[in-house]
Point group: C2
Chain length 231, copies 2
């Protein structure tokens, strides 16, 4: 990612034509070549941008542009639609490049995380007498969302999903298989909990002796009134 603060003017030609007059702005060049032009206000939407896939090429300003004080011209062209963004740069105040790596978590798993927190707090939803052992119980093949004990003290592994699909059942199955080899834990039963469980997933789960639990997010949230207590 490259960050540039510069006085610039911007022209866009694509689905519409637009022009940004000369001003100091933030230019963000992302790793995929996409470009954002931000001002010091407004919302998260840039003044102008080019979405990936696109390519940025830096071209030399012509005579007129150079005479007008333009030192650099960025041409960003969209790979498919041929939309074009021209950034005419005059003065550069900051030019800083950073390697961010790939981001782990654009995931809107916020709901799942919240569900996990709520279910941990309302562990009775698993059944009377259940107690929480811990969230994110670590195993060799990854963390189990929730580990609990039932009224009889037997281990219960819970896999949580917003939408309960086959994949989730398979995941839980792998955990159960592994955990049941651990004499300290075994026998471990499984609960597949989700806001919505697909019929196929339910069939597969029940066929494997995994209990299915449909969660009412709104109700759980209402009881918990979770907003305030997250921090």
């Amino acid at each position: 990612m490259r960050l540039v603060i510069a006085t610039c003017s911007v022209d866009y030609a694509g689905r519409l034509t637009a022009h940004l007059p000369l001003a100091k702005r933030l230019l963000v060049v992302k790793g995929d070549g996409s470009l954002l032009v931000h001002s010091d206000g407004g919302s998260y939407k840039p003044l102008n941008w080019m979405s990936p896939p696109c390519t940025l090429s830096i071209i030399e300003p012509d005579e007129d542009q150079r005479a007008a004080g333009v030192t650099e011209v960025w041409k960003v062209t969209h790979t498919k639609t041929a939309d074009m963004l021209i950034v005419s740069i005059r003065e550069i105040e900051l030019d800083s490049t950073h390697d961010l790596g790939i981001d782990p978590g654009l995931q809107k798993d916020g709901v799942e995380a919240h569900l996990q927190k709520l279910l941990a707090e309302q562990i009775h939803l698993l059944g009377d007498g259940h107690t929480l052992v811990r969230r994110e119980y670590m195993t060799a093949i990854g963390p189990v969302d929730i580990l609990a004990r039932d009224a009889g003290g037997a281990s219960v592994a819970v896999e949580l999903k917003r939408r309960g699909d086959i994949d989730g059942v398979e995941q839980l199955t792998r955990y159960l298989e592994l955990m049941n080899r651990d004499p300290l834990l075994a026998p471990v039963t499984g609960v597949f909990a989700a806001q919505e469980i697909k019929p196929q997933a339910r069939t597969l789960a029940e066929d494997r002796g995994i209990r299915c639990l449909v969660l009412d997010y709104d109700e759980m949230r209402g009881i918990d009134d979770g907003k305030a207590r997250l921090f």
Copy 2:
């Protein structure tokens, strides 16, 4: 505007709850206190953000957070809705503040300007035998978007709008009234051209003998292939 590149985790609680695990990201603090959290990919939409009006306060990490390597915690709270964004910062790689001033803003007339250019080039859209006199024909009360002549040599004044509304008809009416007093131009007929003409505007226009012309921007652009020739 303050730019920070830092490894951080982000929690949002508001209309939904969301969590971004630890990673290196770009934090943009705008002049109005709003915050954007960007990764090195995706589109122009940030991973997370807080819209104005909001306030950012930097709070000291507690014992646990400090032990976990957190050096700074940013708390951004929305002024009205009480949405909250918590940024837990570990390592800061860049911290750069810049005064951008107010942005003159996006020129919204880009489409109208483009339409004018296209219609001038495709003046036959006014009707067979029409010829262009000039764009932005100046009168005492302002410039007429396009002045043309019909097949018989009579003057035609064109008012262009993206969305054809009553106001545009009134504007053209004033031009026509003025121009028809000029013996060198009179008689001048009017054409009200727009991508979309409101029924009320159409009624008013036709009642005054003004012809309405709906323009197909995409088609005009396709014929012109205007993208390449803008620069």
